[in-house]
Symmetry: C2
Subunit: 81 residues, 2 copies
Amino acid sequence: MKAKVYVTLKSGVLDPQGKAIQHSVESLGHRGIADIRQGKYFEIAVDPEISESDARSSIEHIAADVLANPVIEDYRVEIEA
Amino acid sequence: MKAKVYVTLKSGVLDPQGKAIQHSVESLGHRGIADIRQGKYFEIAVDPEISESDARSSIEHIAADVLANPVIEDYRVEIEA
């Protein structure tokens, strides 16, 4: 089983890295880019003998405790069979 | 219009950061996690007057030139209306 976790900054939190990327992109001549925000993405392989509900609960804990900082970041978990 | 870009290490490329996260997760007592790989995730807001095909071509160029290193990374672009 495979899980994907997406971690993004909450909407009120400034993203200087994203702004720097946006400026690079503009200086390369790309027009019409209003905003770029950077997040993190994790692919997690889960042993097949773990049930989907156990995997989801485990991955939710991992996302909240290790992968994201819930004070400034949101996360989203997707489980693929 | 919104675009999402996912950047992941190619499958043959070692991911020491992902391995470090995996060890942390195991030391916290989570069982059954076979592998963790870290990638990057970008949310790009595109001006609404840009057409979807122009946006896709622009974002594909941005992904290949700025967001990903195509020697060691793969990327995937999704456009949302």
